[in-house]
Symmetry: C2
Subunit: 495 residues, 2 copies
């Protein structure tokens, strides 16, 4: 894997200067076009051997392009804020928006490599992390991102030489620290780990380029040219988004499905309702104040047809909570800033820290519900979303989040009656809009979408709870009691 990066590439000063002149103009043009069209995000990952000149090349790129539209997030040891969120959170926070270029010096590769070299994780855990990375990058690529990954290679001898040269020059001596010399000792181990990693993450949608790094000019020029080439190609022919996806879910052959088998007529009388509601609220209030919960977080997802009673259930639920501990996020049309990012970005923004609760009134499932039914995204887009969403939720869960998902199901007749009632009640009038009436006409399409969603995203660890919601009392108590039960289980399991 590294052989072609040990050939002794070097470029003389004159050639370099001439090439850079052309390169710079072309890069500026490409960067301008990218920005004007705002079509896609560009992620440039710069990894490799210590002392191989990652910082130097990045700074060179800043000189060649318009630095106002570049960003280079710095990742040091995680801050409290970062430590209180899942590992990938920090990267989601700094993704460049569409039309911009982000150059990542530390990236999602740094931590797994370091931990594997130091023996903190075994091969299986390492491979698991690699798998997650591949899925993450595939999602980005499918969302239109252009991902360029560079691995800067030096032989051990080459590394030693570079450190010595850097140390000799007073302008660069600061770059060589004790840690640099230490890294020489693990050079062989790094090669081993890296060659495994590079092989497995060399995906068609985000391949690595190994760059021989002994010569500053060769290294930077090579990287610059590859970036230019990739930008020009993508600008000239917008990505063909014809990735393979599973065929649509098989059509219903009879009337049986997870929704039609629900007994929507289940009821709860007022007395029983008030008692059980109060008990569950009391239980919930206790659970979220246990020391165990301080180390976890709770994510509640509410989906359901219009007027299914999501709002009412949420209100009964939060009545048990302290306003300072939770946040309700109603999901409406995405903002400009959110549209410039992969669709999951706007949910990452709201993920709770440990000890806190976020309640989503509608959620990322919009991708496979409203966006599918209304044709806001292509079939391929929503078909891939099932596994992207599963990955996303399992990433959160692996970090300790407890995720509960509720689908509130009502019958068509019940919905009609509630719409009418709302129109007649002054302070509920605002709840009903023309759009609600339009959505009703697509009842069957939504029905199918919900069945498919449940089939594909109700996983063993993060199942859907289907709530029979024709009777509001029954639905509210079922939601609250389910939250208590699942939360108690989860806190016990880990505590």
């Amino acid at each position: 894997m590294f052989e072609s990066a040990e050939l002794g590439h070097a470029i003389d000063k004159k050639t370099f200067k001439a090439e850079v002149q052309k390169l710079r103009e072309a890069l500026l043009e490409a960067q301008f076009e990218l920005r004007e069209r705002g079509g896609f995000q560009v992620l440039i990952l710069v990894s490799g051997v210590d002392g191989a000149g990652k910082g130097e090349t990045i700074n060179e790129l800043y000189g060649w392009m318009d630095p106002r539209y570049l960003s280079t997030p710095a990742f040091a040891a995680p801050t409290d804020e970062e430590a209180a969120h899942p590992f990938m959170w920090r990267f989601w926070q700094v993704l460049p928006p569409k039309g911009r270029i982000g150059i990542f010096s530390g990236s999602w590769y740094s931590m797994p490599i370091r931990r594997r070299i130091e023996g903190e994780i075994d091969q299986a855990l390492f491979d698991q992390r690699i798998d997650l990375i591949n899925r993450f990058e595939a999602m980005l690529a499918n969302e239109g991102a252009l991902i360029l990954k560079f691995w800067f290679h030096l032989t051990k001898e080459g590394q030693k030489k570079r450190f010595k040269a850097l140390e000799k020059d007073p302008r660069t001596a600061w770059r060589v620290t004790k840690a640099s010399w230490e890294s020489l000792k693990t050079h062989d181990r790094l090669q081993e780990v890296a060659s495994h990693l590079l092989r497995l993450t060399n995906t068609p949608w985000a391949p690595w380029s190994v760059v021989e790094s002994a010569d500053d000019r060769y290294r930077s020029l090579t990287v610059g040219k590859m970036i230019l080439d990739a930008l020009q190609k993508r600008l000239a022919s917008p990505q063909e988004r014809e990735y393979p996806v599973a065929p649509p879910i098989s059509p219903r052959t009879d009337a049986l499905d997870v929704l039609t088998t629900l007994d929507l007529e289940q009821k709860l009388e007022r007395g029983a309702y008030q008692l059980r509601l109060a008990q569950a609220q009391g239980k919930l209030a206790e659970l979220v104040r246990t020391p165990e919960f301080k180390k976890r977080s709770l994510i509640l997802v509410f989906e359901g047809a219009d007027a299914a009673g999501k709002g009412g259930s949420i209100r009964r639920l939060v009545a048990a909570l302290d306003a300072r501990q939770y946040q309700i996020v109603p999901i409406a049309a995405p903002t400009q800033e959110e549209l410039a990012q992969p669709y999951l970005w706007r949910f990452w923004r709201h993920m709770p820290k440990v000890g806190r609760i976020t309640i989503f009134d509608r959620s990322w499932y919009g991708r496979v519900l409203v966006e599918r039914v209304e044709g806001f995204c292509s079939e391929a887009d929503w078909l891939r979303a099932y596994s992207e969403i599963n990955d996303f939720e399992h990433e959160l869960r692996a970090d300790g989040a407890i995720i509960l998902k509720f689908w509130l199901q009502i019958s068509g007749e019940e919905q009609l009656q509630r719409f009418k009632e709302r129109e007649n009640t002054a302070f509920k009038r605002y709840k009903i809009t023309d759009e609600d009436w339009r959505n009703r006409e697509k009842w069957d399409a939504y029905h199918q979408a919900v069945c498919d969603m449940v089939e594909r995203t109700s996983t063993g660890l993060i199942p859907w709870t289907l709530v029979e919601a024709n009777d509001k009392n029954f639905a509210r108590v079922k939601v609250l009691e389910t939250v208590c039960e699942r939360l108690a289980e989860a806190l016990k399991a880990k505590g």
Copy 2:
């Protein structure tokens, strides 16, 4: 001040229930209207004596309104992220956007009160903080925010009673901690500090309401009604934004001003340029790597006419820096999310942490330049902006930020020549747009705006540096040398 909140107000259960029913419907309506119109931000501050029922009333409000459009940020001890930013940063991060309501339990009042009670700050520092708060709230109010401040009052005896009652009920016992009983000891001191604070922050644009808090029903109902009343009034008659502002700056009576007296023809020959540029870059690279700088941050502001050479100066400057240490923020039209906030909000988002650098290519001065000249805001708006901007910069500075502001001045002839040159150079073509030509026609209006800006915002601690920029070499070196000089001074002064 507290007399009228010691009368023994109480409301019986039946009255409460009937009143709440009406109140709730009206609040939901008002909240809906607020959201639909998206017209203004609502900030509800809840402060007061420990155990007075702040949490209870906030939770009650969540039950009465639509909780999906409320937010209640929790402020615990500052996180690393917060500690690495100025004090007000955390509040800017959680301002509700226009059309939403934010309920602040901890607010900008909590810390000064606590520190004053504990004697960590003296009266003068306390008053200084109060003054800053008044200015901050005035700015918010002028930006259209509705600010409601509630002070929950209890006598010492009342406080003791409440703690005992809370402790007796198992559902509320957790609310009473050792700190609660301790707070009894400082009750008198709190009254003293609060009565001073309330008097000075009882501004016409953000007055306090002192609420007798012994009775839960009275307290919550009173607050709910006051919120409703304030919302309805504001919705019915949009704020008259006729606050008093200073008269416009006096017209020029002769041709002398800070711009016309600049000698734009100053030049730097190529040899001297290269030498001094390299020296200054070396010096800058050293300065930002000193241990002193790790405790400070650097904010650079670049303003200037189109084609004045801002981009070129920035590029020469960042050539001395490591890409991981700085961020360049080009300011263009605000996004949707930014428009839903006071105009300074979008700059707070980008403020550097300690040890880091943010370079603004155009800045908050757009308010008094382009927005003034193009009429994007009213005269009253840009006239008040001078002191708001001064407050903003001094807040940052008080926290240790080093702020340098550059105005790059070129002559009209020079600009024309550069425009033409750009149109003829392939890779600079993108730099020139129709808007640039249009802006040129407003040359005189911009000239006046710049003079006024310098007059009003070039303060002793944060002066403008006017840069004669007809010669690019001269301008770039002046910028870089000024940065070095001012940075060295600042680091010495504090170190």
